[in-house]
């Protein structure tokens, strides 16, 4: 009798757990996974979200379908997008989030919140700012993949090649939540049939304030990370051009006078190989000339760029973080107050280690 009771209890427990312990099923063939999502400005409170859904066709090619919806909240747009989709739309595989410049100017903190709060979003997700309409960019199909995967491949390839600073959702959130540092994101633009990188979008908190042009990008990257594979083009005085590739950079920060208004000296070591030179010969004298020229250019660009940062009171390179890590009892407010008066100087040291296989 007792044994029967026990067996009955076990059966009841297991069957009730089986009946009530179920969660929703998501079978891969029955859901739509967004591969990219873009946000455009409608009016002050409303954003228009565009989701890219890859369509896998029977002949193994991948199509592109976009759905657009607008609402005040970005999660709400997903449910609106769901109303237009035959299969449930989920965002676990979203690889790229795009924000149009206009949205970014309004501040993307609220929109990013839906990404950071969602456990199914990868920390490696790419975020980019679009010069123009994100909707237009996403509506087109590029290459043989769907737009989302194409974009993520494009960005990843450029980051690996050192042409675009390494950013992802995690880095953005780190900088955005930091008291001292301000975030930056790659800026892309659609031109004709292609997407290309236009520069770097600089933020103050979550507001877009300015973009860096392509020619300032190299020194920006050299100051923010240690580059592995950079490229740099320079124009010499005698109207000759030289291209330096495979550039390794290493930056070291020195901070003086941490008690008062600090002074920051940054040394950037640049090592590269000459890959192209329109002049006649690359002898020692020429190379020295190129070397000096690069040093001068870099220092010049850096000084101008940092002046702009100080004028706008933004700190995308993390100078504040450098000072904080060298100061006891660091005072955030005092630093932010004095930020525009801080003396920051950049010294570049260039060495050209090879010049290819011809003289």
């Amino acid at each position: 009798m007792k044994k029967k009771l026990k067996i009955a209890a076990v059966i009841i427990i297991i069957s009730s757990a089986y009946l009530f312990g179920r969660v929703q099923r998501q079978i891969l063939d029955d859901i739509n996974m967004t591969s990219a999502i873009g946000y455009d400005y409608v009016d002050k409170d409303t954003v228009k979200a565009t989701a890219v859904l890859p369509v896998y066709k029977p002949d193994q090619s991948v199509g592109n379908r976009t759905i657009t919806a607008s609402d005040e909240l970005s999660k709400k747009t997903l449910s609106k997008i769901n109303r237009q989709a035959a299969r449930q739309v989920v965002n676990g595989k979203t690889e790229v989030a795009l924000y149009s410049k206009k949205v970014a100017k309004q501040g993307i903190g609220g929109l990013v919140d839906s990404l950071q709060r969602d456990p199914s979003i990868s920390e490696r997700m790419m975020i980019v700012v679009v010069d123009g309409e994100a909707n237009e960019l996403l509506n087109k199909k590029y290459g043989d993949r769907d737009t989302g995967v194409y974009l993520s491949m494009l960005i990843e390839q450029n980051m690996k090649a050192g042409l675009v600073p390494k950013t992802n959702l995690h880095q953005f959130l780190n900088d955005y939540n930091s008291e001292l540092k301000d975030p930056f994101l790659p800026l892309i633009e659609q031109k004709n049939e292609d997407i290309y990188f236009k520069g770097i979008a600089l933020f103050k908190d979550d507001h877009y304030v300015k973009s860096l042009r392509q020619d300032q990008q190299f020194i920006f990257q050299a100051l923010s990370e240690n580059l592995r594979l950079g490229t740099y083009k320079l124009r010499l005085k005698n109207n000759e051009y030289a291209a330096i590739e495979n550039i390794n950079t290493k930056n070291s920060y020195r901070v003086q006078n941490v008690k008062g208004i600090p002074e920051i000296n940054i040394h950037v070591k640049v090592k590269g190989i000459i890959r192209e030179y329109t002049g006649r010969k690359t002898d020692e004298k020429e190379i020295n000339l190129i070397r000096k020229q690069v040093e001068k250019d870099l220092e010049h660009q850096a000084a101008a760029m940092i002046r702009t940062f100080q004028r706008l009171k933004i700190d995308p390179l993390g100078f504040g973080e450098q000072v904080r890590s060298r100061t006891r009892n660091f005072n955030d407010r005092k630093w932010l107050e004095h930020y525009s008066d801080v003396k920051i100087s950049v010294r570049a040291k260039v060495s050209i280690i090879e010049k290819g296989v011809v003289d």
Partner: protein, 363 residues
Amino acid sequence: MKTAIKNEFLVSPFLVFFLMHGMQYGVGVLGFQRDIVKFVGHDAWISILIIGILVHIIIWMMYSMLNKDKGDLITIHQRTFGKWLGNLLSLLFIVYVLAESITVLRSYIEIVQVWMFPLLKTWPFALVFLLSVYYVVSGGFRIVTGVCFLSVLLPSYLILTFFVPIPFSNFRNLLPIFDHSIYEIAKSIKGAAISFSGFEYLLFYYSFIKRPASSQKWAHYGNLVTITLYLLVMIVTLGFFDQGYLKKVLWPTLMMWKIIELPFVERFELIGVTSWVVVMLPIVCLMLWSASRGIKEMFKLQQKKVLVFLLLICFLICCLLMERETIHQYNKWVATVGFYTLFGYIPFLFVCYHLRFKVRKKG
């Protein structure tokens, strides 16, 4: 008052290593960083080192009492404070053990609900989990130890995952060292000490160890491994997150798993959280085993019946804790009680116990 336990129920001394480390390395690992960082920011790793040393001292204290007594917490209490007061204190300790087991289980279910299945109800999970706890505990202490042993070995591959965020980290975040006052460090220790709890169960299972006095070194090794792992996780966390961001994140360890990218699985946390069941099971098992064993000792009841009763309480309270805020409040409450029990009451007991013997010898 020594209750002789048959040789066949005893476990080898080296298994204390797994009992010690397995119990300490639990649900706390997934989110302990917050409670420390709140107070000391980038100096959090110092607090962990200090907690580690404190735990070593308390393990030494427990062994010094147990080696003399050759019993467990119940007999120590009875000898120090007399039968009635001693039993009352043991009962309070058991209530704390039960409260902690509920914290552990509910926190884990919350993680499953937030990170994996938002629609999962609490009670079916708790029911199935506690059923397996009953199955393990009713098998006796040797089975509990076996599960503990596996729970350390099976998910040990997860240690590798803590190295993945390093390329995305900036270890300048850790500087300058010693930037916080002693007071702030003390406060952080109070906040986070509960994550390192689990060593106190030695007071219950001591008499189940063969040649118990020789197991002390294994207990210390266990704690050493725990502290090393916590230290590793903490340092990687501090490098990986900016302070401002870290203060917002509820489960930093799980957040770090989000950076892992594998060709066959998009979201690694799902594997991590699932693997964590193996880590959680022996913790709840040993807690409930200790509680039921203690009650059995005191009131001479049948352990299985006590166990069913305790499981029922555990189950009911688990289901009653519904929202994030209530769970958080409950956890905070248990953490405070736990801190005073482990780092206040055990040293107090240690002093009382030895004083009592000194006085008796004289008299």
